[in-house]
Symmetry: C2
Subunit: 463 residues, 2 copies
């Protein structure tokens, strides 16, 4: 068995250039799920992945239509009934690319520079898609079979809050039946491997304040017509107190305090210097309220992500704008119900409406927090694979981010979930996103070992 592992690893090393060149094809799809203008790119990307799965010998390969973007499905179930079935999750959609002027190369050119491949989605999360496929391909070529049964589920809506995925999962419970869900959304740094074991939920919304019937002259009307941009400012200012506490009424009512053990794990998993450097700030915000590690992971947040209204061009334009708008996201804590949160957000925001400025708060995503295995044989299979590859076990960390699909699986299916991700990423959700190439190939080795370990476990690990 160990020999077959080495054969697959050797094969990966020998075909390194091919794997990389073919990855550029995947990266060149501008699969921006949030932007309707890119719907065709998202679909083309899904179809391309389906073709890859078919070529590898997977069965039942299909870009399954949903209300939104398709889910890529494919399975290989020939490992035998005594072997576990692993449902592999990743997402092939990517974040928008703005602000484009800050990119040093075109976001979908997939240029290689300084040992990194640079593209929107290179890390988040096409690395999860490509890493999985290339692991299975190497195992199949080296051994003629996989050590476990595999079901692939690659989503196309992760970056836009997975609006269709809850319905998809509910409608496909039999198809998705498995012993373990392996979440491949994340990244893998060989020097400092980390595994997300939990994350926040999310609620997103778009607020529109509408005042005069058109942009009107601020000389003639200044002082007597309420300015919707001022209303937007008042709403935004109402969201936090001076220390950085979200003061949305009722928002923090149901919070439970993390346990001392959990707080310790959170603190251990928080790299203060790296986070400061990553943001380019000299100090954190809100530390008078709680340690930054907890603020960034288990505390609920509210961030305005974008705003617009009136004149944005050069020079000045003396108007009271007809309309102002902004987008916001709330990261919600364990046990916070996203639908309850969205309702109290809507109520609060819309209370700023007046007789002359209307305020509309349109809710977008509503997703629960997620929770993965923190011990047990499945996680041990991951840890042993990582240790055998890079000489150390992964640190379990809680992320402040959200993976809506995992919250859905937690609540709808209830199967165990562990995480394993591919390659070290930079600039996730930012300009010049990149994937470190060496670390990607290191993670492929670890993945070969992981599937071997999972195969060795058999069905016995089923609870």
């Amino acid at each position: 068995m160990s020999n077959s592992v080495q054969q697959a690893i050797d094969l990966i090393q020998e075909t390194r250039n091919h794997i990389l060149e073919d990855y550029k094809q995947l990266l060149r799809f501008a699969s921006i799920g949030a932007d309707p203008a890119h719907a065709a790119d998202v679909k083309a990307c899904a179809d391309w992945i389906v073709a890859q799965l078919q070529a590898m010998g997977f069965d039942n390969c299909e870009a399954i239509a949903t209300g939104g973007h398709p889910v890529v499905y494919g399975d290989w179930l020939k490992a035998g009934a005594d072997k576990p079935t692993v449902l592999v999750y990743a997402h092939y959609d990517v974040q928008p690319v703005d602000p484009l002027p800050l990119w040093h190369s075109e976001p979908f050119d997939a240029v290689i520079r300084d040992g990194k491949i640079i593209a929107r989605g290179a890390s988040d999360n096409k690395a999860g898609v490509w890493g999985s496929l290339k692991t299975f391909e190497a195992l199949l070529k080296a051994n003629g079979e996989l050590p476990v049964n595999i079901k692939i589920m690659f989503e196309g809506e992760e970056e836009s809050g997975s609006p269709s995925i809850e319905g998809f999962v509910q409608a496909n419970k039999a198809r998705l039946e498995a012993d373990l869900l392996l979440n491949c959304d994340g990244d893998f740094a060989p020097e400092d491997p980390r595994l997300y074991y939990a994350g926040r939920g999310i609620v997103s919304a778009q607020v529109t304040a509408r005042g005069p019937k058109a942009d009107i002259h601020s000389g003639l009307y200044g002082g007597i017509v309420q300015n919707p941009l001022h209303v937007a400012g008042a709403i935004i200012a109402s969201f936090h107190d001076a220390e950085g506490r979200v003061r949305l009424p009722g928002y923090q009512d149901a919070l439970r305090e993390a346990s001392p053990a959990e707080k310790e794990r959170i603190a251990a998993g928080f790299d203060r210097d790296a986070m400061l450097a990553g943001a380019g700030v000299t100090q954190f915000w809100g530390e008078a309220i709680a340690p930054a590690a907890e603020r960034a992971t288990v505390h609920p947040t509210l961030d305005v992500n974008g705003i617009w209204g009136g004149y944005q061009g050069p020079g000045s334009k003396t108007i009271i704008p007809a309309e102002a708008g902004f987008k916001l996201t709330l990261r919600i804590a364990p046990d916070q119900d996203p639908r309850a949160v969205s309702q109290l957000l809507k109520r609060h925001v819309e209370s700023f409406a007046s007789d002359t400025v209307s305020v509309d708060c349109a809710i977008g995503e509503e997703a629960w927090y997620f929770q993965l295995e923190t011990d047990g044989p499945w996680l041990e299979a991951v840890q042993a694979a990582i240790e055998a590859t890079v000489g150390r076990r992964a640190q379990l960390v809680r992320t402040g981010g959200s993976i809506p699909i995992l919250g859905v699986f937690n609540r709808e299916i209830g199967l165990p979930i562990t995480a394993f991700a591919f390659g070290e990423g930079e600039g996730i959700h930012s300009p010049n996103e990149s994937l470190d190439i060496d670390s990607f190939f290191t993670s492929l080795e670890a993945a070969v070992r992981l599937y071997h370990n999972l195969g060795a476990l058999g069905k016995s690990s089923r609870s």
Copy 2:
């Protein structure tokens, strides 16, 4: 004399189509002074007007370079030393065109529809340029001479706060010497003629709040990195109290209350229903503080004119943006010193800076209020011309708008100023700006009478 007036009026009516067709040429220059990308259009527009003046027989015609856009100058000084010299002011620059999607035709196409000519600048203030030129042309063609000496001064920076004009006026005091300044920036409704006799000053600024080094992931950093958009919201919210009073510290300290007579004139000149309809609102803002007529004219204001930051595209993007910015203008009251106001604005805004979000407030325009004649022979010449043309005298109104050049003339030259404008406008500073064609030709008739009246006054009206 009355006969020569009629000849000029007849000539205008006979050449109506020509006047209108040629006006389209003037309107087709995209002379957006505030936008550096349109600097060549502004210059081309100035040169075109110079050529028109030359063709009419004016002397010393020149697009005089300034630090910004040129001033169009030309004179006709052959009326004799016993006749007054009138310095005619209008501006050929126009407001930006955004939001472009709300225009029903291209802003510089100069389409005629429903008796209106539609273009950015059709009313504000190319009508003042064209109306003046066509009046002089008709008088010259009908009579071979003008009843008064004329100096033309058409500005190219009015819509961007006239940054060069104070220096220009200081450097050209001899050239601009005159008995009367006639301000042709405004509009003329035959059914309800109005003359601005005073207006507010203006201070404009652009605020930039900068936080993290790039747009960063709001899941990973939400809660621990201060969001510059929240700071922008807090600044905007700080500008007004709940009733609509500007609460910029010190801003209202030096205000003098308008006299009872002035309040009466303000109230009489304020058309409540027209203003409500013009803004498309059902009620005014801030009436608990003072009557809307005064709030719109003699009270100081602060309006945010535009805002931007972060993601403005479709769907959501989960970021804390690196930067947010907004533009604002303050309309300042009589006796408020714009330079003192800009300093207290800057101080207040920049006080919102923190260790992790910098705040910069860049001051743009700084212009004083202005004050025109409210009685005397010059104004009477205007009133008599209007009455002879439309059967009623103009109502004197105070505007809430600003004409920086007039404040400069008030302070630098001190010569009497009256107003006379051309045609009824709609959508000034808004999409689908238009000029009513019939009213424009009515105002040309009134202008012929006005210059005749001024010529009859002689130098005797000089104080």
